[in-house]
Symmetry: C2
Subunit: 369 residues, 2 copies
């Protein structure tokens, strides 16, 4: 698996003020949990605080940004009487994401995230530090499973308590349901594909579609549109745009995972090769190598998921380029982005939102970053 469900290492950035507003909503929500949490005592209070720290520390608020922009694009504005409730509902996406990341870090055996120990490692270290009974690793995983569950349950609580008008809540619910099911399904396909060694381009694209594109862009935009009561035509346009840009975003990230500058990506050079990620890039390379260069196919297969040296990384980069896999992925990104922007331009989204979504799309998929 990758750095997390639908979490390429870069993010299309939401406006700073929106990011701050989302964080305010999240903080306010955590305050509302205190009366349920406190009666259970300090151990649980502490676990809830660990979740809050994790959520507040995190990220660019990509999903709330797309959802909010989707809502604005349907002709709503920040002065709208529903704006407050809508922003809260959009912010609840960050709690779904917290569950996804906390559980994904267990699945990927990741030790750090955003420069901090992952939740399971944090609790593993607390256990070891206290010299408690039993296995520290297992304790850390157990606590992190429960804290992730708490995030998922609280995501619902936050969305449900957002104060949405009944009709908006009714339109929101099925999209929210689809999004959660799709991201869990995408993660399952990813784990399965990696273990079962499914090397096809089709399998890698399907994982991208559900684990990244639907979850990160398509469904957040759809949620915003649903909240606004947008027309079926605008919803269809958003979904088309979101799916294409979401896949392109992941493909760009796959390229950066192999060719990216560590100073920009924040990950060691060639990290995806070391992790053995089954990306579209790798699938394209293997498909070509199997047909034309069996020794190169061997080289790739025997290197993936091993602790490759910088020399081997260089060798693999050359192989991926010479096989034409890099060009193939660049072409996919280009045509997905073109198609997405065409759908967006033909849509009834407001000019402001169109400009904003175009900028987010280009930031997410551009060659240099």
């Amino acid at each position: 698996m990758s750095a997390g469900p639908g979490t390429p290492t870069r993010h299309p950035v939401g406006a700073e003020s929106l990011v701050a507003a989302v964080e305010d909503r999240l903080t306010a929500f955590f305050r509302t949990r205190a009366p349920i949490v406190e009666p259970l005592g300090p151990v649980f209070v502490d676990a809830a605080a660990a979740l809050e720290d994790f959520v507040i520390r995190g990220g660019k608020r990509t999903r709330p940004s797309f959802a909010w922009t989707g809502w604005l694009g349907a002709g709503r504005s920040a002065d709208d009487p529903d704006a407050d409730a809508v922003l809260t509902a959009c912010s609840a996406l960050e709690l779904v994401q917290a569950c996804a990341l906390i559980h994904d870090d267990i699945i990927d055996s990741s030790r750090t995230r955003r420069g901090f120990p992952t939740v399971h490692v944090d609790y593993e270290q607390r256990h070891r530090g206290q010299r408690w009974a039993g296995d520290s690793d297992h304790y850390g995983i157990s606590v992190a499973i429960l804290i992730g569950d708490l995030a998922l349950a609280w995501a619902d609580d936050m969305a449900r308590d957002a104060g949405l008008p009944a009709d908006a809540a009714a339109r929101f619910a099925p999209v929210w349901a689809a999004m959660r099911t799709e991201v869990l399904g995408g993660q399952l396909l990813d784990i399965h594909g990696e273990s079962a060694g499914d090397e096809t381009v089709e399998a890698a694209l399907r994982i991208n579609r559900y684990k990244t594109a639907a979850y990160t862009i398509e469904r957040p935009l759809h949620l915003g549109a649903a909240l606004a009561g947008a027309s079926p035509e605008l919803i269809a346009a958003y979904r088309e745009f979101g799916t294409d840009i979401g896949i392109a975003f992941q493909l760009r990230d796959d390229l950066l995972g192999v060719f990216g500058d560590p100073a920009v990506t924040g990950k060691p050079s060639g990290d995806d090769l070391r992790e053995g990620k089954r990306t579209v890039l790798i699938a394209e390379a293997l498909q070509r190598a199997d047909a034309a260069a069996p020794a190169t196919a061997n080289l790739i297969r025997s290197s993936l998921g091993t602790d490759v040296t910088p020399e081997r990384v260089a060798e693999l980069r050359t192989a991926l380029t010479e096989l034409g896999a890099v060009d193939a992925v660049e072409k996919r990104i280009g045509s997905l982005t073109d198609r997405a922007l065409t759908a967006l331009d033909a849509s009834t989204a407001t000019p402001d939102a169109t400009r904003q979504l175009r900028a987010m799309a280009l930031a997410a998929t551009a060659r240099s970053y």
Copy 2:
């Protein structure tokens, strides 16, 4: 931890027809997921089927039974126009329970449940059988984390789509939220207490309260009452009854875990000792032994959580009895049950529901079963 959150080995039994009706609702709900699940392909369809098998295989439907009886007891009837929606919302509790059990089986490293491999063991075995890449154990745990998450997300979807009138749904939501947070908190306290070696009666009672009593009886009754729009007085009476009976239920189960007949409990004799469960029974025994019989305290501490022989089980049983811990727990069960039934009798619950709840309470707490 125990056999699962709020899952003593015995259950107060719901009426057979209610159990069948709950299972019908669950089956119908799973059918509604197909349009979201199928586009992701056979691997995810298969995982959803594994969840459905797990849910449909399971249990006495204790939580839906209490919730439904709580609703009837507030003066509603099966002919009520809301009955259908209420039964569906009550049945959704089984999906929360599925998440709790699937994740708890990972936490407890349990290999079987209800005579079948646990979900993580099932997927571990599939992985091993296919000779896939990577660690089979880790694969099984990873898939089971995601399938448990799916159950938790679907529990919400099922409750939200039950078709409840808006006012009933609004009353249901905060109780549902509290219940989920409490059971996760109770599980966290349990894991923490076991690792940190908290041996106090108070700690064991607190875990019982949240992990079993609130989750299994108090909150389900409360949910039923909330759906019915019951008076604050009836809600308070239900909660008092549910908390007391729920704790007594767990205390009875703790006694059976040490003294129960394997033919009745379905678990090997003395299994709780082998698991090292930190029950109120053990806490009472240690408290007494520390004061009066240090060698016995030593015997208990050094035996708990080890593969005790039948002879050692017999020795520990004698010690727990002679220390007065068994009597102390029996007294607690007696006074909790009395207090619960007094609250129930003084309540405005309908005579039929009162009779039914009394029977459920006695079945849950009776000395012989």
